[in-house]
Symmetry: C2
Subunit: 229 residues, 2 copies
């Protein structure tokens, strides 16, 4: 069986389950296919509607960017997005500057560049500062199934003069926030959970959360990098 036949077989199964309304997650049909592979850089096995991936527990991958500004006094600020209120998933919640799923034939870095342009209107010349800085891994179960995810993290230092533009209506607005304000938002309950994790990783990597002040330093880092449930 080749890629096309496997994809078509999977499509039949998933469409049938949707018709029978047998899986809650399929009510949130995304009309977006993910390429499924043994790993993010292995040859694709087949494509599958994004909403169905949690029913099968396959691992999915994404890329997120922390957009930040450093002022003349070495104070850091982070660009925090707020998701559109009409977005299907996590409407109105806080988000990173840009993020997107991997699985359309683009590498993690290519995906990240594309999302920076599409979601935040970042021009090509500012993307020369885009830097791969790590990843988080997590797995959780909810009423939609098993979400096993790996998210690549990028940092992008931006000039003070640049203002992101919500180019594709995914985001309602962007705010440039101080580190203390960002810490408050991460702790509060209206941050998209995996985006809060990406932001937490930024705060730890840049010395804004230290082992001297945080008793659960190892616990946090170990739980940010877990394979499986």
């Amino acid at each position: 069986m080749d890629y096309a036949s496997r994809t078509s077989a999977v499509e039949k199964v998933v469409n049938d389950m949707r018709k029978r309304d047998s899986l809650l997650t399929l009510r949130g049909w995304r009309d977006e296919v993910y390429t499924i592979a043994a790993s993010y850089n292995s040859p694709p096995l087949f494509a599958m509607e994004r909403a169905a991936t949690s029913a099968f527990g396959v691992r999915v991958y994404g890329a997120h960017v922390n957009g930040y500004v450093v002022d003349e006094n070495d104070n850091y600020f982070l660009w925090i997005g707020q998701r559109s209120k009409t977005k299907q998933t996590f409407p109105g919640m806080y988000d990173n500057l840009a993020a997107g799923g991997i699985g359309n034939g683009l590498s993690p870095t290519e995906t990240m560049r594309k999302e920076c342009e599409e979601e935040a209107g970042i021009p090509e010349n500012l993307l020369k500062n885009l830097k791969s800085v790590g990843a988080v891994s997590y797995c959780y179960e909810d009423e939609n199934g098993v979400h096993w995810e790996g998210e690549f993290i990028y940092d992008l230092k931006l000039p003070k003069s640049f203002i992101p533009k919500a180019a594709d209506n995914e985001m309602e607005r962007f705010q440039l926030l101080s580190i203390s304000k960002v810490k408050e938002l991460v702790i509060a309950d209206n941050f998209k959970p995996n985006c809060a994790l990406i932001t937490l990783d930024f705060l730890m990597r840049h010395g804004f959360i230290t082992p001297d002040q945080e008793p659960d330093y190892f616990f946090i880092l170990e739980n940010m990098h877990k394979s499986g449930l």
Copy 2:
């Protein structure tokens, strides 16, 4: 039982085991006590000779610093130490700029500052750039017992003009090496293993190893942040 009585009881047991030569690890007596606690920031329970900790499998903590220089063309260089040939553990192997165990009543950051001064002769005024950037957790077993360790990581950006000095004879020399040379050393077999891990973390956080080029990106990060065996 208080701290002093517990420490004295443990001391008796460990001294007795040493006299009977019943544990291989005690042949490598360090004459250095570690404070044992439920966590690095919990109240100390008792003190124990460092060489005995692996016999009991207690978790021990350390702090390591990546000392680096960025030249005018934005090229990065890392200060890599080479351990003294007379050092008891890992003689002659490559090391970070400075590192030390936690457990003498100092916080992770205080320990790091002290080691920077003692092991690499870094003056106080350069330590203002010292930044907490994460940690690695790992656990392995060898002929000496179980080594369950948590290492805090610091980055220290240094001016090109500063040359580290092996102040306390722990290091034989320091070399300022390009990223490509550092990558070669990390892969080769003469790097102290946990120091190679700290260096690998630096390379990943600073964009010198990316998910586009490294197929085991998640595997590496997950295994760098593991609790227990």
